[in-house]
Structure formats: C-alpha cells, structure tokens
Symmetry: C2
Subunit: 334 residues, 2 copies
C-alpha cells in the first residue's frame, strides 16, 4: 500500500501549443463545496485547471454561470476560441439520469430536484454534454487511468461526508433501474441500526463510517480520561492519531474498519468482484484501507477481494469527467 496522495496526480502539460484546428474537452466536477474544472486536448492530456468555491451558489443558473466563467478562463489560458471546445461532461453529487441528462436528486449543496443539467450545459457551450453521478465519474476515472486501470469488474467506494459506491461490471458502470445502484450509505450490517432513518437523513452505514458519523462517534466516546486529544477532531485527524498510537482513536479506526469490511464483504458476496477501490476524503486514508483489509481477511471469504485506495484522489471525478467528455466528443466524430 502506498502513502496517501497529498498533491494532485494530474500533470498539467504547460508547454502544449494550441493550433487553430486543435480540439478540447472540459471536465466538470460539481461538488458539495467546490467546483473544479479541467481542460484537456483530444488525447486526454490535461492542459489547464480552474477551481472555485460554490459557497453561496445555489440555483442551477448561478452554477452554470460559474461553470461558463471557468471554462472561458481555461480556453483563454490555452488561447483557444470557443469553437475549439468539442464536448463537456459533468458529475453531480446525486442520483443522475444519464440518458435524460437530468440530476434527479441531491442531498448536498443545492438540494436540486430534476435539474436538466445536460441541456443547460449544451445551451451554455453549444457543444454536446454528458452528465453522471460523481461517484460513477470517479470510478470511470480510476478505470481509465487510476487504481483500476484495465480491470473489468470492480467497485469504487467513496467515503467522505457521504458514503456511496459505483459498480463497474463488464467494463461499464452498472447504474440500476432508477439510476440508484451503489447507494450503500443505507446498508444494514451487524453493528448498524436495523431500522433505517428517514429518507434524506444519513443512512445506517453512512452514520457509522461517513466523515460526520465518525466525528460524532468520537465526541460520543470522548472523555478527558480516555484520551489527551481534543473533543473536536475530523475523521482523518482521528485516523492520523490512531496511527500515532492514541488508544481511543484506534478503537474508532477499528470500529470504522469493521463496519466497512462488513459492507465490502456483503458486496463481494453479491457481485463476486475482485477489486474494491476506496476513495473520498475519509476512504483515502491509508490507515482505514489497511485496517479494513485486515478485517476482511478475518471474514474468511472464498475469494478474498483486493482492496486498493484511489490513485487519483480528489481528481478521480475530474478525470472521469474528462474521459466521458472525450467519449462524448468521439462518439460524434464516428
């Protein structure tokens, strides 16, 4: 297992020269707190990046304006005209109808319901566009150029504030009959409640192994006698302290790893997938990956899946978006 990546694995090719007939695609990662864009040439080489906070930006129109501002800035950076943009693709943090290009529901950021994001992007840029769920994009990114390169069947498990998964089966995302495959944040395993909460509230699994759930559990277990650490720590800080030897932090790391191992075990039984890639701010932590691997080994499976952490880190979605944009542009050329 390698160390957690702390810098971007996407190399920006600064010396690329744009010619008049060069084409470009833009990838858009529309997250809960940040908007992140990248521009690539038709070979997939990343030429420029642009980030912005989405604090205070709520409605679809405001988000589209911000995306336009970013994409125009990127095209200027490479001295390319608007017409050189051949396609865009965007990931949204919620259930997304890929065929219709509609973000059906997201509990983050904007609380969007049935937003026709693809049509809005196509209007804004006068190019073809594709939209997908952000976890699916991260899986596509890892499959293209990350930890699952060339792997036909795997599951990407994203653990940040939220918990979700993307299934790549026979080389393609399996999205489910209502675009909701991989919504594992609600999974019920030994140690979670047997009574799911209301819809919209964190699910049983998410409230135990999501970033907020881990923070809350730390506060719950915390006492001045049990640890010298402060009561207010994030999940990754707690895992860092577990590595450094704090006993309470280790208890919490092991509890999280056990519950995550149960979820991966159940998914392995159902899908018999050989690889799980852990991503997201919490999922990327190397201590969680190695502890979960140990727990899985104790579960004594017939075919033990491999566990890897995301190679692309926070860029996984953006790389997936670029790949989807390239596919979108390519499908027109055919």
């Amino acid at each position: 297992m390698t160390q957690r990546q702390t810098h971007s694995p996407i190399a920006v090719h600064k010396n690329s020269v744009a010619t008049e007939d060069t084409g470009y695609v833009a990838g858009i990662d529309l997250g809960a707190t940040n908007l992140r864009l990248a521009l690539a040439d038709m070979s997939g080489a990343v030429l420029a990046r642009w980030d912005s906070s989405t604090a205070g930006v709520r409605g679809a129109e405001a988000v589209i304006s911000l995306i336009k501002e970013g994409v125009e800035s990127l095209l200027q950076k490479v001295s390319a005209p608007r017409e050189a943009l051949k396609a865009v693709a965007a990931g949204a943090p919620g259930i997304t109808d890929v065929d219709a290009g509609i973000v059906i529901a997201t509990s983050y950021l904007m609380g969007w319901r049935d937003v026709p994001l693809r049509a809005l992007l196509e209007d804004a840029f006068n190019t073809p566009a594709t939209v997908d769920n952000d976890v699916n994009l991260a899986a596509i990114g890892e499959s293209w150029t990350g930890a699952a390169k060339g792997v036909r069947d795997f599951v990407f498990v994203a653990i940040g504030t939220g918990v979700g998964a993307s299934l790549i089966l026979n080389g393609s995302p399996y999205r489910g009959s209502a675009w909701a495959a991989g919504e594992i944040g609600y999974m019920l395993v030994p140690g979670t409640s047997g009574i799911p909460g209301d819809r919209g509230e964190p699910g049983a699994l998410e409230s135990m192994i999501g970033g907020e759930g881990i923070k809350a559990e730390w506060q719950n277990l915390w006492s001045a006698e049990s640890t010298a650490l402060p009561k207010g720590l994030t999940a990754t800080q707690i895992f860092d302290h577990a590595l450094a030897g704090d006993a309470l932090a280790q208890t919490l790391l092991q509890q999280t790893a056990r519950i995550l191992a149960y979820a991966i075990y159940n998914m392995t039984l159902v899908l018999n997938c050989p690889l799980f890639v852990l991503g997201g701010g919490v999922g990327m932590h190397p201590a969680l990956c190695s502890e979960t691997q140990k727990m899985l080994e104790k579960l004594n499976m017939r075919t033990q899946p491999e566990l890897a952490h995301s190679a692309l880190g926070t860029d996984a979605q953006l790389m997936g978006a670029l790949r989807l944009a390239l596919d979108t542009a390519g499908s027109l050329r055919r």
Copy 2:
C-alpha cells in the same frame, strides 16, 4: 400474490408427434436429492419428463449413467432416435465455471470438486452441452417463461436447505469474476452473527433463513408452554401454522421475514433492481413472501422493489436448463 403452486406448471404436450427430422433438447436438473429431466422440441414445448432419486448415487460416472438412462427413456417415449437430440444443458447445485463447463465446488450431494460435467455430457450424448449453477438456471427459467418474463434486471433468491441468489443484469446472468456472484447465504445483516463461520458450513444468513436454520430455531424457541405444536416441524410446516394463527410460529415467520428483508434491502441498495423473485421450497411459501413485503415497506426505500414468488416452482431449474439447451442448439444452427 397468488397461492403457492402445488403441482407442476410445465404442461406436457402428450399428443405431439415426432417425425424423423424433428429435433429435441434435454434439460437436466441435478439436485441435492433428485435428478429431474425434461425433453422438449425445438419450440420449447415439453414433451416428456423423467425423475429419479439420487440417493446413494455419488460419483460423476454414476450420475452420468443415471442421466443417460433417463434421456434414453425420454427419447423412447417420443419414439425418437438418439441423433434427434440436438443439445443438453444441466444445472448443478454449486459454483460452476460456465466457460470451462466445470462444476468447481458443491457442498451438496456429491461434494464434487472440479468435475468437467460439460465434457462428460458431450461424450455421453455426442451433442453440445452447457452447464450452469442451478440458481442461475432457475433465474433463466423465470426470465424465459415465469415470474420475471421480459424483465431486464432482477434477482432470483432461492431459499431451500441452502440460500443463494442469481443476478440477471441487462438481461443476462451476472456470474462474477470467480463464478460466485449471488452467494448471499453468507451475508451479514443486523440479527446475524458478525463472525462468519468456516467455509463449507452454513453461512450467517443461511443459518437464520435456510430450511435447516428455521427448523433449528424452532426447536430452540420451542417449549410445551409456548405452543401446542410438536417440536419437530419443517420450515414450511411452521409457516403453515403461522398462517393458521400459532403465536410461536408467527414469531419465527416474522424473524425470518425480517432477516430476508434486510438481505433484499441490501441487494436493492447495491443493484437498484426493480424485482426480486423468491423460489426454493422455503422461499416459495406465500406467507414468507407477504411478510417479507411488509417488512420491506417498513424499511422505507427510495425505490421499493417488487417481490414475487416463483411462477415455475420446482420446475424453474428444469425450464432454465431447457432454455439453455435450446440456446446451445440454436447457436450451432447459426
């Protein structure tokens, strides 16, 4: 929900007349205690059936001899020569490598390991053969002519002595990277142990909702004060008594339904499948199906899956085998 089927849903077409150039296929359901065969014409109409106990029959050669005896008897019934047999397909109760035609492992009946069943059948009948796991065949049967007719994505859940599932995704069985998808008998949910047993022993879920597990739990809960019923009852007898009003039997039915609902809930989260078909001797019981549906509704899912019980009952595997044999014969004609 309709009543449990107590007789065979496969109509035997007694008045079909075989001509010299008529072709036939044989379906083989190789179960833990019974061998069941059916002969069909190339339109899939079942012309004759043959059953035998497999008590005392263990080795692969003895099983092949018995299959030969059965198929020859079927061909005689329709006055057809051996050359009229165009293909055979068999389902085995264990993990089966469909590409190689090998039964990798089964914990039932014969304890086979790496038996090249397809080659043995091809040698025995001098026809092309296909082999698959019995639960996959049942799912194919239900998809062809049963409760999941025309449904692109569904899960068949077989509950008898064992507990297993077959995933039909995008219209085809999804078998997993080591042919072990759907091995849900080991699933961990609230109420099961968090420590799986040894391999080869009944899994956590199976030991709660499989036929033997339910019987054992009944004996565990039984006391002369709590019920007027005998201590030795089968799972389906217990469910019958639950319908008739026995309080202890109702407790056991509800416990089984709750655990099964958790497993279906988890699979729905992962796959977002719209339909689950319950089959197998225990799974077919109408009381289990309706109680599990009620439990699922309490779990308050975003997209509630439909629950149906098998339309083909104990013939599901046999119909799946006939369908696979027809496909095998058809793929040669092309």
